[in-house]
């Protein structure tokens, strides 16, 4: 058999740190860049006599994600203790939701991927649940001890578990990107892989193509960039296929990804797997999520990426652009404001993705700090649509507008596409009466070329266009000009 005879089956477990002022179970502040062990309180350190109190804001965020994914929200869910001894775990257990998560089911659309029926791919979710983060052990090279930072301990997390229905490393990366887009759109997490506010483990198995049974799955831990996620899964697929091809069985193991050698490495086998001795958390009553609470969160939901994409596609925006523009809330918001200001969708998306993002990316500026407002962009597009300026002039106007606004950082009197068009003489002359005079002048001044044209040398037409443009300093509406030329050259003397 060959590699092509196998298909991978991938499921992801994603941890997402929620954007809240305080930790999951105490009033202790949360932060990313604080000095070690400064963001701690008695509960965070697991001091005797302290008790957890759930963070309502974190629950609010969890409801938002569950709604966005179409999950079933459970009115009653429970917390549980997951036990293991490790220095970064101050209580000797982590509070999580084991058997009764607050949300089950639902799905996430993976943009750019299709299912077997050719519909947009949706990856079903098993569950989403709350938990608290652990601290961090810091191993100092060459030292005989390790340091522990409890600053992250107790930070609020959502764990999002997908069904094993992801079909390729690329699809896994796209799923994770979409999840990142979604939580950022909801404003519930910074979801930054480098900073650890988005973390991912992957369960990978392979099976004979056409088989419906699942193979033995192996878990790759700590895949903390999109690139490594795809690479690690690809490497693990290769490892498993190699084993099967050699007639060996796959053992359920936990692996890490060795970036240098581009291969997965076994960390521990199933026999070493810990028994977490789950215990329903006696310090916390069941978590009740009322339908009123759910309705309130639903009424506050922003436009969601999948809906945005569908809307953009329906308005004629290309799929690539639609995915790009829905990938970041600020981008989608920008486009939506441009459209609200009257710009046609396809034009707006072209201007945004090509001209504006081109400049912003070159300058390293985020869309939310764009010098050109959506309303200004819409005005410029409207001017092109109304033949007030030519496409080329519009690009010049855009360049001036962007450059000058960026230099002045908004301190100059209002600059708009129209004021620049006036100032720099970019206004297009579409008045046939005005243009006719200019055309007649050019034709009168070049009888030789008129002769040549009439003798069948139609190439000369371009010469007349150039001459009229020169005369009108480029402001002649090319279409009106063309029609005039055709008419006047067709006339007899």
């Amino acid at each position: 058999m060959s590699v092509a005879d196998y298909e991978p089956v991938i499921g992801l477990e994603v941890h997402c740190q929620l954007e809240t002022a305080s930790k999951m179970f105490s009033a202790c502040p949360v932060g990313l860049l604080a000095p070690p062990n400064t963001l701690v309180d008695a509960y965070t350190l697991g001091l005797p006599g302290t008790l957890p109190v759930p963070n309502a804001r974190a629950v609010h965020h969890g409801i938002a994600l569950a709604l966005a994914c179409g999950c079933q929200l459970h009115e009653r869910s429970r917390f549980a203790r997951k036990h293991y001894f490790y220095p970064d775990l101050p209580k000797g257990y982590q509070i999580t939701q084991a058997h009764e998560p607050y949300a089950t089911g639902g799905s996430l659309e993976v943009p750019g991927f299709r299912d077997a029926e050719g519909r947009p791919k949706r990856v079903p979710l098993v569950r989403i649940h709350f938990e608290e983060d652990a601290g961090k052990n810091v191993h100092v090279p060459g030292e005989d001890h390790s340091l522990i930072d409890y600053g992250r301990a107790g930070a609020p997390l959502l764990e999002i578990v997908s069904e094993p229905t992801i079909g390729s490393p690329e699809e896994a990366a796209a799923y994770l990107r979409e999840l990142r887009t979604l939580v950022r759109t909801l404003g519930i997490s910074q979801a930054n892989m480098e900073e650890g506010t988005l973390r991912c483990d992957a369960n990978v198995s392979v099976r004979r193509r056409g088989s419906t049974a699942l193979g033995v799955r192996c878990e790759i831990k700590n895949l903390n960039s999109f690139r490594f996620l795809a690479q690690a899964i690809a490497a693990e697929i290769r490892r498993q296929i190699d084993l099967l091809e050699q007639g060996q069985v796959i053992e359920s193991v936990t692996l890490s990804y060795d970036v240098e050698r581009d291969r997965t490495r076994v960390m521990r086998s199933k026999e070493d797997a810990a028994d977490y001795r789950y215990l329903p958390e006696p310090d916390l009553p069941p978590l009740w999520i009322s339908s009123e609470w759910i309705d309130r969160v639903r009424s506050e939901l922003p436009p969601l990426p999948a809906a945005r994409r569908a809307g953009y596609l329906a308005q004629g925006i290309s799929e690539d652009d639609a995915v790009l523009l829905a990938s970041e809330p600020a981008l989608g918001d920008y486009l939506d404001r441009t459209l609200a200001a009257g710009a046609p969708a396809k034009k707006a998306s072209n201007w945004l993705t090509v001209e504006l993002l081109g400049k912003l990316n070159a300058d390293g500026i985020g869309i939310e700090r764009s010098p050109v407002t959506p309303e200004a962009l819409a005005e410029l597009i409207a001017m092109v649509e109304a033949d007030e300026v030519s496409g080329r002039a519009a690009k010049a106007i855009f360049a001036s507008l962007y450059g000058e606004l960026r230099e002045s950082e908004g301190s100059t009197p209002p600059l708009t596409p129209r004021t620049i068009a006036e100032r720099d003489g970019h206004r297009q002359v579409s008045d046939a009466g005005v243009l006719e005079a200019a055309v007649r002048e050019v034709l009168a001044g070049h009888p030789e070329q008129v002769q040549q044209f009439r003798a069948g040398k139609t190439k000369v037409r371009g010469f007349f266009v150039g001459q009229v443009m020169k005369k009108t300093r480029g402001q002649a509406n090319p279409q009106v000009l063309g029609e005039l030329l055709d008419r006047l050259l067709g006339e007899d003397d």
């Binding site: 001091l47 005797p48 302290t50 109190v53 759930p54 036990h83 209580k91 001795r277 215990l279 310090d283």
Partner: protein, 512 residues
């Protein structure tokens, strides 16, 4: 007022005198300290006497009064706290070597509320390690002795609290009750012990043994003192999610309601057990007669699953204990036995830091939570717990209170049962139902056993239980019983007898 008169006063009377200026808080403190100086060498009720902090607090009360500031309900009342209550800045160990040296950097809710009411905290009272025990013998420190006869245990786990209140080395105390740990020592020491309904008093700042069963409560000289302390302690706490968000009634007022018309349920089947000491049975029947005289009526109740209560309790409490005690790894606070590797450090620290009974319960609890034993043990116990709670709910459809003995025996001698954990566990038979079902319960003095050649006269307590949050009914009946009797006025010998005077005959101690 003489020091001996002062220590005879109720907590309420002390606070009244201090508020009115007829006694100074410092004067009160000195009287109780003098008493503690006399009794402690024999009783060992205190693990830590906070003389400096107590003096500062008493002086602050006197200063506040001199300045004309209003004083709280417990102004100047010397109160001792079981060692598992966190007091900011005060050595707190839950009676365990593993917390040796730990000074809490935060204030527990109980200390905060008591201090806020003007109480003077006299120190940390001894206990069975992590509240696991019924005799105070599960301790790496000096075991507490019963003030009525130091050859006898004071009960446990709040033995230090009960002994100190009985001996008069504090006016009232705080204990914790997971399976009877307030009520049983109160019974054995002849004082009042109140276990409030689960969630009535915060657990924030109370070092956990078994979180779903633990409840803090007062140990006091009389029912009204217990009510006065509960008044200060009860009520919602934003730092405890299991604390019940219900208004706090006027508990002192409910003490004057009387027992007329109350239906008192009796589970006769439980009384038929062969382990019940005749002296206890006699005191119990007498208490029932007192309640009837006060206007209560008796009804029989059925508790069909009661026989499974002890097994259920020991599965649940050991599981929760194993979990709650996981944090004591020697890395962040308390004792640490450093070894070459992390694992060895954990093992050495926990091996040396926990005593045998605590280790036994951690092992049991770890076992019942294992993936392959969870369903048969923990899962099953949870189901039975629900059945037991339902039994009580049904029983309370036909009565307002359920009465029973507290301990099957009046008391037992030091060393008599310490090598027989099973017998020790069985002695919780009357008390653990209230914990499993989250009920309110109280132990009130019901007289002394008759002295025999093998056993001195020892106090006997009677238990009343009420549905959750029905403390007012509980206190009404308890106070009615107290108003009709003098049992709560009985005092242990003063000065205390020496513990080594003569060894009791352990065989004559009664029960099983």
């Amino acid at each position: 007022m003489t020091p001996n008169r002062i220590i005879e006063l109720s907590a309420r009377a002390i606070a009244r005198h201090v508020r009115e200026g007829s006694l100074r808080a410092t004067e009160v403190l000195e009287a109780f300290e003098a008493r503690a100086d006399a009794t402690e060498p024999v009783l060992h009720a205190y693990l830590l006497r906070a003389r400096d902090e107590a003096r500062t607090a008493a002086e602050a009360i006197d200063g506040a009064r001199a300045a004309g500031h209003p004083l709280g309900a417990l102004a100047g009342v010397p109160i001792g706290l079981k060692d598992l209550f966190v007091i900011e800045g005060m050595h707190t160990r839950a009676g365990s070597r593993i917390l040796e040296g730990w000074i809490p950097p935060y204030q527990g809710t109980h200390a905060a509320r008591l201090l806020g009411a003007g109480a003077v905290i006299t120190g940390k009272l001894a206990m069975d390690e992590f509240a696991m025990g019924s005799s105070n013998e599960n301790t790496p420190y000096e075991p507490v002795r019963n003030p009525w006869d130091p050859r006898y245990v004071p009960g446990g786990s709040s033995g230090g609290s009960a002994a100190a209140v009985a001996a008069g080395s504090c006016a009232a105390a705080l204990g914790s009750d997971t399976g009877g740990s307030i009520r049983q020592p109160a019974s054995l020491c002849g004082v009042v012990g109140l276990k409030p309904s689960y969630g009535r008093v915060s657990r924030h700042g109370m070092i956990a043994f078994a979180s779903s069963l633990d409840q803090a409560g007062p140990i006091a000289r009389d029912v009204r003192d217990a009510a006065a302390l509960l008044q200060v302690l009860a009520g919602p706490d934003p730092l405890d999610a299991t604390c019940v968000d219900a208004p706090v009634p006027d508990y002192l007022a409910s003490c004057d309601r009387g027992a007329a018309g109350l239906r008192v349920g009796v589970h006769r089947e439980a009384l038929a057990s062969e382990g019940l000491d005749p002296e206890v049975a006699k005191a119990f029947e007498h208490a029932l007669a007192v309640l009837q005289d006060a206007g209560a009526t008796l009804v029989d109740v059925e508790l069909p699953h009661a026989e499974h209560a002890i097994a259920t309790y020991y599965v649940l409490c050991t599981a929760e204990a194993a979990s709650n005690l996981a944090r004591y790894d020697g890395l962040r606070y308390g004792a640490r036995i450093a070894r070459a590797s992390l694992r060895e450090t954990y093992e050495a620290t926990r091996e040396a830091g926990f005593s045998a009974e605590v280790k036994r319960r951690i092992l049991l609890g770890t076992f019942v939570l294992r993936k392959d034993s969870y369903a048969a043990y923990y899962g099953q116990a949870q189901k039975v717990r629900r059945l037991i709670a339902r039994d009580y709910a049904r029983a309370f459809e036909g009565c307002d209170l359920i009465a029973s003995p507290v301990s099957p025996v009046p008391g037992f001698a030091v060393g008599e049962r310490s090598h027989d954990p099973l017998t020790m566990y069985l002695s919780d038979v009357f008390t653990i139902g209230a914990n499993l079902a989250g009920l309110a319960a109280i132990s009130i003095p019901a007289g002394l056993s008759a002295a025999t050649s093998g056993r001195p006269a020892l106090p006997i307590g009677v238990q009343l239980m009420a549905p959750a949050l029905q403390e007012p009914t509980l206190l009404a009946a308890a106070a009615a019983h107290e108003d009709a009797t003098d049992h709560h006025r009985l005092r242990p010998p003063d000065p205390p007898r020496s513990a080594t005077a003569s060894e009791p005959d352990p065989g004559a101690g009664g029960a099983s």
